[in-house]
């Protein structure tokens, strides 16, 4: 990237602000940032009084928001771009994140279930939903819910985490989206008990891969194997799309 001399020849140069105006505005934002950081620390102290692990949770939340924004990470783009723009960079990044998180959850869960899954089903560990991680019911409701969610995320220009992140970035559209996200959640909460009594749409038992596939070894092979295959596919697809253009 260039500094004062651009290597691409062009004639139009839309100058919005003088260098002095820019420097002033930047100093304001930077100062505001430092003040906000201090306030966030103070808020952390308050949260700690309300929640025994409040300060820690607060730090994680802030770090998540900071990371999402700074790395321009977007789950929605990871699903949408392969179809819409042919790009799979975020798809690959999401797969990497899934693989790393899988490693961590594997360790946490294996410690509790035992390498041979012996502890699962005992009084100490009644079923997989008690394990670290969201091991939850799967059924037609998941498919319908996911499908609807996918449509909504692309239309709105951001998924759940993306909406929160963009609220912080100043996108008024996302401030509107969150309101209707909340409204939709209320509707969803009303629908859920109705759906849950229908055995076709909903079956309450979670399906845990190590149990489904007969042990940790097959589960690990399938999980990491699938993620690897998907990564390679995404890589190939992205390169094909950009090569053709």
């Amino acid at each position: 990237m260039s500094d004062t001399t651009s290597t691409i020849k062009r004639t139009t140069s839309r100058v919005k602000e003088t260098p002095e105006q820019r420097a002033r505005k930047q100093k304001i934002q930077l100062t505001a940032g430092i003040i906000v950081a201090a306030l966030l620390v103070l808020l952390g102290f308050y949260i700690q009084t309300q929640n025994p692990r409040g300060a820690f949770i607060w730090m994680i939340g802030l770090a998540l928001g900071y990371t999402l924004q700074r790395s321009r990470f977007c789950f929605t783009a990871s699903m949408r771009d392969p179809v819409l723009t042919g790009s799979t960079e975020l798809t690959k990044a999401v797969i990497i994140a899934l693989a790393l998180a899988s490693l961590g959850y594997m360790a946490l869960q294996m410690k509790l279930t035992g390498v041979d899954l012996k502890n699962l089903g005992t009084d100490a560990l009644k079923d997989a939903s008690k394990l670290p991680g969201h091991v939850r019911a799967v059924g037609v409701h998941t498919v319908i819910g996911g499908f609807i969610f996918g449509i909504g995320a692309v239309i709105a220009g951001g998924c759940a985490s993306g909406t929160l992140m963009r609220m912080g970035e100043g996108f008024i559209q996302q401030w509107i989206a969150i309101i209707f996200f909340i409204a939709g959640s209320v509707i969803g909460m009303v629908l859920l008990p109705i759906v849950q009594v229908n055995p076709i749409l909903y079956q309450a038992k979670p399906i845990y891969l190590p149990q489904l596939l007969g042990g940790w070894v097959p589960a690990i092979i399938v999980q990491f194997g699938l993620l690897f295959v998907l990564y390679v596919l995404a890589d190939w697809y992205g390169k094909k799309k950009s090569g053709e253009l």
Binding site: M1, S2, S6, T7, I8, K9, R10, T11, T12, R14, V15, K16, E17, R22, K25, Q26, Q29, Q69, R72, C74, T76, A77, R80, D81, L84, T85, G86, S87, E89, G157, G158, E169, G170, Q173, G238, S242, L245
Partner: protein, 75 residues
């Protein structure tokens, strides 16, 4: 060597990239496209795409939260 400006200020996520792709299709080799954006996603995914296809790309920050992405069509 034509020069075109594409105003994408205020556009939501994939729109700047889609509009850029469409505009680039119609341009000749050597032409320059300047895309005005204010979306942090776009200041990364538009240059990423343009570079992956092989064009010359430059990014300049023109104001707080506003960028110009300058793309020179090379093929």
């Amino acid at each position: 060597m034509a020069e075109q400006t594409l105003d994408c200020l205020g556009e939501a996520c994939p729109v700047p990239l889609i509009k850029t792709q469409k505009a680039m299709e119609k341009m000749a080799v050597g032409d320059v496209l300047i895309v005005n954006i204010d979306h942090s996603c776009a200041m990364k995914n538009v240059p990423d795409w343009a570079r992956s296809v092989g064009h010359n790309v430059e990014i300049e920050e023109v104001a707080e939260g506003e960028w110009n992405i300058i793309i020179e069509k090379t093929k």
